[in-house]
Every structure is written in structure tokens, then in C-alpha cells.
Symmetry: D2
Subunit: 258 residues, 4 copies
């Protein structure tokens, strides 16, 4: 089978030295374990809970930093896009475009992303059944671009809580695309802190193991050397020091089921 893909980075674009530290650590772990590594960072967090939260450095600076990481480390990079206009510009720099979960039904955005010809990774909306991603695939594939991946990041489960339905990984794989498990957004508690989202980092590792045992093609992780100082989503980011141990375990489990 294919080697497992690891998509990992800070939530939002952070200072260059932090991005470098993350890329270096995860790339080394992936190299040792024989996994494929893609660096991720968002140039803009367009849907933060609060208007006072940090959103990122803006598109130009963000893409510049992604280009730099790409060049320095020789690894592919991924970022998410929020409006059709951003797709072509981002696609000049990054290797994979990502569609955020809330936007997974926006036809124009999907079509603009796919029309760039770059691979597109779509996060399944928290409000969507896994089989409904078939319509999302059809929208993307209408452009002729069939390099599509689907990502599970949890489904709405009452208020302020998400649940990962592991059946969704099976169902989405049957749609014919590689399936990624986003282990850090899956443990978010939306709005759980009043004016921001909470999270339970302790569940990242067991959920990632469970997903790997169900059967996945890739693992998505947000990580930070000091999550408590992260500019976004610290509560659910994995501590950078813990990435190597987790990836080693995931690789073993993946080896058993693929």
C-alpha cells in the first residue's frame, strides 16, 4: 500500500522560527518512519469564534512563509482557502488546497479550487453525513480534477461537542478518495469556552489510533512547541514533543490494517 501521509503544522501561520521548528521535527519523524510529510499552515483563520482572535498574517505574508518552508525543507505545503478568488493565487505556492469544513458545500469555492489543477482536500462539514460527500466529490470532479482527498474532523453532537463517527472513514473511502483523519480538530469543543473554542488534547492520541485502525490514508495534526502559547487552537494542538511517539504508533497500527 501507499505510505501514510502526515499533514502537520501550526494552526495559523506563526513566526518563521516556530514554523521551521515544527517542519523540522515532523519531517525528521516522518523520514525515520517512512511516512510522507506535508507542512500545513493557514494564512487566515476566516471563521474564528471571536472577532478579537488572531486571524493570521494575511494572504501575502502567509503564502510567502509557506513558500519559504517549502523551499527550505523540500516538502509539499498545504493551506486552506475561503473564497474562490484566493484559489488561483494560493495554488501558485502550495501543493494542496484545503476547503474548510463550514465551506464544504460552497460550490464556487470547490470548483475554483479544483480548477487550479492542484489536489484538493475537503474537510467534511460537522453537519454532513459521510455519504453526502459524494456530492462534494462530484462538484470538484466536474472540473476534470480528480485529485481529491476527504477529511473527517468530527460531527456535531449536541451543543459544544463533536463526536468522531469512525464509520465515516469507511464510508468515505468507499467513495474512492483517500481519507484523512484530522485528529486535533476532532477534539475541539466548539464555543466551549464562551468566546473561544475549547479542546481536549488528551483524546488526540487515542482517536488517531482508532482512526488508523479503522483504515485511513493520512493523518492531519496541528502541533506547536508550546500549545499554551499558540496563536490559535492551542487547547487541541498536540505538543510538538509528542508527535514522534504518536506517529510511530500510528504507523504500526496502519501497517496492521492496510
Amino acid at each position: 500500500g501507499q505510505p501514510l501521509v502526515v499533514i502537520a503544522g501550526p494552526c495559523v501561520v506563526e513566526a518563521l522560527d516556530i514554523c521551521r521548528r515544527i517542519a523540522e521535527t515532523v519531517q525528521a519523524a516522518c523520514a525515520e518512519l517512512g511516512l510522507s510529510y506535508i507542512f500545513k499552515a493557514s494564512f487566515d483563520k476566516a471563521n474564528r469564534t471571536s472577532i478579537d482572535s488572531y486571524r493570521g498574517q494575511g494572504m501575502d505574508e502567509g503564502l510567502a512563509l509557506l513558500a519559504r518552508i517549502r523551499e527550505e525543507f523540500g516538502c509539499p505545503v498545504l493551506t486552506d482557502v475561503h473564497e474562490p478568488d484566493q484559489c488561483a493565487l494560493a495554488a501558485e505556492v502550495v501543493d494542496v488546497l484545503q476547503i474548510p469544513a463550514f465551506l464544504c458545500r460552497q460550490t464556487d469555492l470547490l470548483v475554483a479550487a479544483a480548477a487550479t489543477g492542484q489536489p484538493v482536500n475537503v474537510k467534511k462539514g460537522q453537519f454532513l453525513a459521510p455519504e453526502d460527500m459524494a456530492s462534494v466529490i462530484k462538484k470538484l470532479a466536474s472540473t476534470g480534477n480528480e485529485r481529491i482527498a476527504l477529511t473527517e474532523r468530527g460531527a456535531s453532537f449536541g451543543y459544544h461537542n463533536l463526536v468522531v463517527d469512525m464509520r465515516s472513514l469507511v464510508i468515505m473511502r468507499e467513495l474512492g478518495c483517500p481519507v484523512i483523519f484530522d485528529a486535533t480538530h476532532a477534539v475541539q469543543l466548539p464555543g466551549g469556552r464562551g468566546t473561544s473554542s475549547g479542546g481536549n488534547r488528551e483524546f488526540v492520541a487515542p482517536l488517531a489510533r482508532a482512526a488508523a485502525a479503522t483504515g485511513i490514508d493520512g493523518l492531519f495534526l496541528e502541533t506547536h512547541p508550546e500549545p499554551e502559547k499558540a496563536l490559535s487552537d492551542g487547547a487541541n494542538s498536540l505538543r510538538l514533543d509528542d508527535v514522534q511517539t504518536l506517529l510511530a504508533k500510528i504507523k504500526e497500527i496502519h501497517g496492521l490494517v492496510s
Copy 2:
């Protein structure tokens, strides 16, 4: 108290004569009952389930039709916007801008809509707790525009189903904004028909009555003379012939609780 506001129209912009028939019928019912009427239609359905579904006539034609209805009937009109760029243009024509539920956390869209100075009606995301709309209000109000309404249209309840939590109407009213109940989207069954969404028109009236008894400031309805022929969302649209009877009952209930 204030008279109840009724926001009603076809789902998507339909042929002019159908729009006229709807506006005429609902306006007459509202006039008779002493309710405020706002005509609604979407110039674009940017997140239809399937890429093959009808999306609308496009922005220019759609806004032109809304302007015409506005002029002919002398009633305010509402439409929804999906990208920041659309807000200023739409605000020149319509009296109220509406933010779709999936997009209710997109900061740029919210800010662009509010910055037009026009009233903004935000549909609460199916993935959001009602108290989390406080952050949405804050984003809008950061522009200085405080003419904000919030709309309940159901919360995710497992797959392919929505539930209306009537507590949300109480909670959102406590946030200080008028609260609208969207009785026709609330009965949608997302993805319930495989490649399109289903709906249960039979529940529109009982849910609208329940919401009115809980306490609301407005009622949102999609209606069509022949819902089975509607270009979008026919399964959950109210039959135009049934609008008058429903509004009369809603008015009575509203009178008892306000």
C-alpha cells in the same frame, strides 16, 4: 409590541410572474392581518447539494428582479450574500442582507454585510449553540451597525435530520436582537434524497405555531404556488394557498404571548 415581521418568497429567484404572484398573495395576507412583509428571494444558491441543481439567474438578473418587486409592490426585499464582494452591490438594491447558516462564522462576510449599514439577518449554523451567536453579533456590531436579526433554522440531529430546539429562540432573544423562525428550512432533511435534500412540509405549520408561542419577532417562509414545480427546495416549501391560514394562526398566537 412590534408587529410580527413576515419574510417570505420563493427559495431561489423564479420567473417574474411567480415572484409577483407570491408577493401579491403574501402582501395581501399581511396587510389584512397587520403584519410587516418583506419579500425574499436568493439570486444564487451557492451551496446546493448537487452541482447539477439549479442555482439561480445570477446576481445581476436576480437583483434586478428584486428591485422590480420592491418597486411594484412597495415592500422591502431581502436576499442572501455568500461572499464579501457581493455585499455592497446587493445592499444597493435590497433592504436586508441575509447570511446563510453555513457561513454564519465567516468573519469577512459578516463584517462586509454589516459595513453596508443595511440590517443583517444571520441564520444560526446547524452546528452552533444559540448562545454562540453572541460572537456573531459582536463581529457585526464591530462595524457600528447594530441592526441585527438572528434566525433559527434547526440544529444538526444525527445525519439527514434537523431538530428545532425551541430554547434557542429564548436564548437568542436574550442576546438583544429580534429573532426570526425559519419554518421551511427547519423541516429540511439534509441530503435526505441522496443527491438532493428532502423535507417534510407537513411540519411547517406546527413548528411555526410552536415558535410563535415560544416568542419570536418574525417568521421566515419559503413558498411557491406549486411547490412540486419549484426550482429549489420544493419538498419543504409551503403551498402559497396555505400561507394566509398559517399567518392568521401565527398572529393569534403571537398576540397571546407578546
Copy 3:
């Protein structure tokens, strides 16, 4: 149509004078409004969250108190049963047997209750779709007893929360039985306080109004002169002083829709 039935009392059997005060107040309100009154109290709370919680006075004392209220006030009384053996004994004293929500699928209990020939009120399980109550009705009716009522008390909505799906009232009425809305259990927050269940009394009135506007045959309420001192479920009990006002409003709404 039939007058609305009001089933109200303390959660668990309390001291005689408290039961009397409740019966007297609610009976007077119902008499004034032309509503039917049934006194309710549980002789045993067989499924309290914590083993340290008060469970009641036991069956003998509990039934004796119910008999006394019945005699003194001349009103029918209702209690819930938890095991098949209890049904015949309880049926000698009370006018309606009630099946708790968690037990609504226990075939032997349903059959034993219906076999007494007394009317049976079944609370819909928090885990059950409303249409699935058809199978519950069939179990009861297999005894030849068709005096059956169904009660909505909320559905599981993630953890520690219930949502009232007002569609369930419509669906259960279509099954051919009178439908009751339990306005105080519907606002429970299961396990919400760690070792006991919490509740939000403030939603009792709006949810009761919503249910009445949807269409119901009866309203179930737990009430207490001083809910903060109630031996069980105080957080969601309605203050006795507020019962008359609520019933007056419910009656008006009920009148509009029946």
C-alpha cells in the same frame, strides 16, 4: 374538543402537607380554567442518578398517601411503576399507571401495566424516535387495553442535554393516542451536576407554550412550593406560585389550535 388534562404534583411523594398544598393549588387553577386535573407523585424514584439520593417512602406509604389525596380532593391520581409486580398493586389505588422513559421498551412491564385495565401513560424514551412508539402501543394493546397515552419528555441531544423535537407531538398523535407534554423533565440536564441531574426551570413555560401550540392533549408538570427544597428534581420543578399563570396561558393557546 376535549378539555386539556393537567398531570401535576411533586416529583417524589413528599410530606402530606406539601402534597396537599400542591393538589389544592393546581386543582383550584384547573377548576377555574376548565381543565381536568390528575395528581401525580412517584412512590419510588428507581433510577436516581446517585445511590445517595432520596428515593421516596416506599410503595406502601406512597400508595397510602396517593389514596388519601385522591379521597380528600376527589381527583384522579397517577403514579409510575418500575417492575411488573408493582402494577396490580398500584392499579388498586391509582387511576393511571405511568411507565418511565428508560423502561418504555420493557415488554413485561408494559403488558403487566396494561393488563390491570387502568389507563397507561408511557413516557417516550430519550433514545427513541416518536414513530417507534407504535411498537409500544402494540405491546400495550395486545392485552385488550386501549386506554393509552404517550408523553414527550425530550430526546438525547449529545451528552447532558435533551432537546424537545416538537415534531414528535404531531407524529405521536397520528398514532391515535392522546399526547402529553412533560414540561419539567424536558428541561432536565441529565447528569449535568456531576452526581445529580441539573435543569433549567426558565424554559418550562416557553416549551409548554410551544407544545400547546403544536397540539397536545395534556400537560405534565412537576411542581413544588419551594423547588430548592424539593427532595428530587428541584432544579427543573416549576414553582407552585407560577402554575396558575402558566396554565392560563396554555389554555388560551390550546383553545386556538384545537
Copy 4:
């Protein structure tokens, strides 16, 4: 660590030769893999969806058959109890008493089961948060019996559907008890077939693998040589021929994480 426990058998007590075939096959697989085997069968299905469904042979015959399997195969046996009176009688024959999910809050049943001194396995209710099982443990432990296991079998997720929240395995283990994953009830679709429950056998294996990777102490399975002919729950029973392969994989995954 401890070897993984496998609790497996038919749903309800079937003909002796079918029970023998199941016990023989699973016992052999467990012996080969170094797993502990417990045979399970229910003498009575007290909460079948429909009153017309097969319920079992009754307590006397059912316990007699369990005793016979126990003697012939030398393996411990488990059955579930539904009323306090049944506990002492069942405990004379079986090695583990099991509390059904709907009944997991019934204090008298829990106490009667634990008071027998036999180990008690409680299935977490579909309506309960995992941390709320702490109160269940306290009820059992109030008898002095601390041989308690907790089983995950899915949580209500809208209507007619269950979702397995893998976090619950972590949370319940932190309560200090061994945790079992019930892989076949977890794939039930409650009421999914109108007058009976449906199920999706295809998800048994991936969910069992996921649970094992999360971390469990035991696996619960219902199995049948010909599930389509099973007297109960055939739609979600695992084919007996598939048990060995699944257990081998589960053992490997369990070995990686314990």
C-alpha cells in the same frame, strides 16, 4: 497486561447445537490466540422492539442451557438480568451478570446484581455520558462488590442511529473498571426497519479495530453461523466464520497499545 477478554455468543438462547457450534468455534479461536473466552446468551429479550418478536426460551430453560455449555466447554458464561428477582437465580448458574443498557440506571437491579457477589458487566445507556457511569459504579460498589466492568455499545445520534464515541472508552477506563466494547450492538439501527431494529454488519470489524486501538479490556460480540436465520438481531450479528479473523486482528492491535 491482562489478556483480552472475548464475550461472544448468540443474541438470545438458540437451539443447543447452535450454541455448541458457537462456543466451540470461538473457544478454539481464543485458545489459539491466547484470549479469555466467556460464552454469552440471553434467556429473555425483555425489550424487543415488537411484541411479536421471539423473546427466548424463558429463564429456566435458558439457564439450563447456559449451565450445560459451561459444563461441556469449561468456559465461564454470562447472561443479562432484567429484574431484581432474577439476579440471585441467574448468579447460581452464570459467572457474570450483565445489565442491559436501557436498565443501567435502575438502582434496585444494579444493587441486586452486585449483591450476588458475581462480577457485573453494565452496558452504558445510549442516553448517558460516559462520565455518568461513575454513579452506576457507586451504586454497584455500595454492596461491597467491586468486580465491575463497563461496556460501550453506542450513544443515541439522532433517530434510528447510534454513534460510538471512542472517547468514552478512555473516560470509562479512567473510572477504574475494565472496559468492554460491544461491537455488534454498536452497529444497530434502532427501529431502523419499522417494526424491528436494523443493523450494519459491515461496520463490526472496523469499529472493533478502532476500539482496540483506543484501548479496551474486552470485546463483546454476537455471532451466529447463519445470521440471516438468527432468532434475534441477525442484521448486526457477526458471521461465525468471520470471528477468528477478526479476533486475530484485534489481538494484534491490542498488543500494540497495551
